[in-house]
Amino acid sequence: MQESLVNLTDVTFNYGNSTVLKDITLTVQPGEFWALIGPNGSGKSTLIKILLGLLKPDTGSVELFGEPISSVSHKERIGYVSQKSNSFNSGFPATVLEVVRSGLTKKTGLFKRFSKEDTEAAMNALLEVGMEKFADRNIGELSGGQQQRVFISRALAAKPDLLIMDEPTVGVDQQNSASFYSMLEKLNRDNGIAIILVSHEIDLVTDLASHVACLNLTMHFHGGRRDFAKLNDKDLSRWYGHSVRLIHQEEGDSSND
């Protein structure tokens, strides 16, 4: 059997006295494309932080690539893309290539300098997101959508098996976010990279993903997209705590996490 990329079992997490995540169980297999959806404050970002090893759950176990998270030796197998707005200082003097190559820092290892191959890997990663022409441009000169492509490319440079993205299209306009999503689809289909995409845009991401996880304190649903599509709006609205309809996203639901 193939090793699972992610194996969460009965994970519970508390901030002080309030429980943020309760009994979360989730398995992600190679090549799957998961949409992690849920309303604001449902614990999506907390779950991502647990997956990245930035937070430790109070109970339950977290395994990545078949190993307990504390002893995972190859963290570069995960590529992480955060929300655009809070990830960097736009006046930073760095070229696109320098930023993408920084995705190889961990893989290259301590006390070593970047080699020619590392630079080539970074260029290839830029090619995959269609940004190779911008390699020598200053990162701050690019538009929000272009910057987000660069950050995906930084995550791709180390050739990860799993991409984890936390609301990557916040602050990116609609047209650009559509082409951004089709690029993700291509990466998943052609390169076989598994993806966990956190989003509040239910329709967009459920059309894109092969699997859906619906989170609000507990995991209300996790499974294939077809099964998710069979759910009725009433269940979904109950989990969300307010009215939600599939197919057409409601205007009022477009707030950010």
């Binding site: 995960i78 809070n86 960097f88 930073f92 003097p93 070229t95 920084s102 961990k106 300098r113």
Partner: protein, 287 residues
């Protein structure tokens, strides 16, 4: 000055340690500035003032300190301050910048106490505050040279980690880079450089040599590498021009070096404005 440079050892000391500091201060400064921590250098220089003042006071009281170069206690105080800042930044997680004024005040506070206790140090103190061309000893130059080697080795070995950490600290943690001890080493080195630079630039102005050349460089640099090279270039020009002016006009070199750096910054800003690449103007906005 060129003739004098061949004749007088004190001038050689000042000139060569100036040249070295002109490279390493902006080099470290670049990493500090891009992380929006420019004031850390200020806090550390004030802590090293406390160390120097303490050493000068003790030299009047205890025989052992009479023969000790005050630069050592100044460097030690700066290192202590840098470790405390890192500690405080963790205590005040949501107010990280608060660590800087706390340490800065502590430095001035202790400095003022030692200076008063010793009933002032006269010309000596002015030299430490604003730098001096004549006070740099062979021993000071040696300390600066050894430090420079440590800084070069450190940046050579950890360039990519330092870049990744500075560009995006969250990403760097998420990708499993052990940033904490690299950051700690960086702070200790910065503290040592600040402590060692004060003979030349002076305590009050050493942080300027870490930030002003960088401020000019990031206005024009597209890449991080070019930002580093330009910072060093601007730093060197400031030090050389500043030292010449200080020698000929008999002024404290701290002042002339920093004013040169300010002039360079002004030229860069004006040049950028003239070529139309200045701060992005909103559409329709009239200047």
């Amino acid at each position: 000055m060129i003739d004098a440079l061949f004749t007088y050892e004190f001038l050689q000391n000042a000139f060569f340690s100036g040249l070295i500091i002109g490279v390493i201060a902006p080099m470290l400064g670049l990493f500090i500035v891009v992380r929006r921590l420019a004031l850390i250098a200020d806090a550390l220089s004030h802590v090293s003032l406390a160390g120097i003042a303490g050493s000068l006071y003790l030299s009047q009281q205890v025989l052992f300190f009479a023969g000790l170069n005050p630069i050592y206690l100044g460097m030690a105080a700066a290192v202590g301050g840098s470790l405390l800042i890192e500690r405080l930044r963790r205590v005040y997680r949501n107010f990280e910048e608060l660590a800087i004024p706390i340490i800065l005040s502590a430095g001035i506070g202790f400095g003022a106490i030692f200076i008063s206790l010793a009933k002032g140090f006269g010309a000596d103190l002015v030299g430490y505050l604003f730098g001096s061309v004549s006070a740099v000893s062979r021993q000071d130059l040696l300390v600066v040279a050894v430090l420079a080697i440590a800084v070069f080795v450190f940046i050579y070995l950890f360039y990519k980690e330092l870049f990744t950490l500075s560009f995006d600290a969250d990403y760097s943690t998420a990708s499993g880079i052990k940033g904490r001890w690299i950051q700690m080493l960086f702070m200790v080195l910065t503290a040592l450089v600040i402590g060692a630079s004060m003979r030349i630039v002076g305590i009050l102005l050493v942080s300027s040599l870490m930030t002003l050349p960088v401020a000019a460089a990031i206005q024009v640099a597209k890449s991080f590498k070019s930002a580093m090279l330009l910072s060093i270039l601007f730093g060197e020009v400031s030090v050389i021009a500043g030292l010449f002016a200080a020698y000929h006009l008999d002024i404290a070199p701290g002042g002339t070096i920093v004013v040169t750096a300010i002039i360079i910054l002004l030229f860069v800003l004006i040049g950028k404005w003239l070529t139309g690449k200045g701060t992005v103007r909103r559409k329709g906005e009239v200047l």
